[in-house]
Symmetry: C2
Subunit: 139 residues, 2 copies
């Protein structure tokens, strides 16, 4: 993939690019609430450029997504892709294999809430989402 | 206050009005993630009409706010009012006395994240924020 600065979309303010080992396409991550002992929740703002998605993965302590911009995909292993719209939330059980990302034509932003951060092991990364899997949305 | 339907702003989709016992002005609350044993976090979408705010209060388990629209106020007891803008977050320690709401001229929306919901006692309400306190923002 050509990631020269000329072709790369502008990062949201304060965000850094997510690691290509675990993301297909360009995704930006900004930490809103770092690790802390007051609420023990880590909160991040995640923006996927159109077509971008993360690998299949699990969260040992679960995760909540809240959509704030654009339209995205969310898929649990063995189930069809679900469309995610602004204002919708997903409550992801500990250990559930899933992925999320933008639709092919829309930049997509969600807040990601990781509870019980002090327990460690926020995410376990698995294999990449193939193009066939990504394009399986039935509408 | 005149709360006839003619003068009342339209509710955001799926939201209900927050109780006037604990809120000054009109505020809307929509539950995004109800009580659950997967993440043990309750997440709500809260919209304050311009001038609206909640009472002084504490959260025994803490709370996180993430601003998604408009401009708001946040004040901790004994400190000046802070302005909150879209994309900003506040991590509120358990037991901290504080309030939040819209500015006088802007509708304001934040997500509210309540961790460790199964511990109970999500909020302890205190006295209303007076007009003098509300209008003490120094800019």
């Amino acid at each position: 993939m050509d990631q020269s600065k000329e072709n790369q979309p502008a990062a949201p303010e304060g965000a850094t690019q997510a690691p290509s080992d675990y993301f297909t396409g360009i995704t930006w991550v900004k930490t809103l609430v770092p690790a802390n002992d007051q609420t023990d929740c880590v909160v991040s703002d995640v923006t996927f450029e159109a077509g971008a998605r993360n690998n299949w993965h699990t969260h040992p302590n679960g995760q909540i997504l809240v959509v704030t911009a654009g339209t995205g995909y969310y898929q649990e292993q063995g189930r069809p892709i679900q469309l995610l719209r602004v204002g919708e939330a997903v409550n992801i059980a500990p250990g559930l294999v899933h992925w999320h990302g933008a639709t092919p034509d829309s930049r997509f932003t969600h807040i990601a809430i990781n509870p019980n951060a002090s327990k460690g092991g926020a995410v376990n990364w698995l294999q990449a989402v193939t193009d066939e899997e990504y394009h399986s949305y039935q509408g």
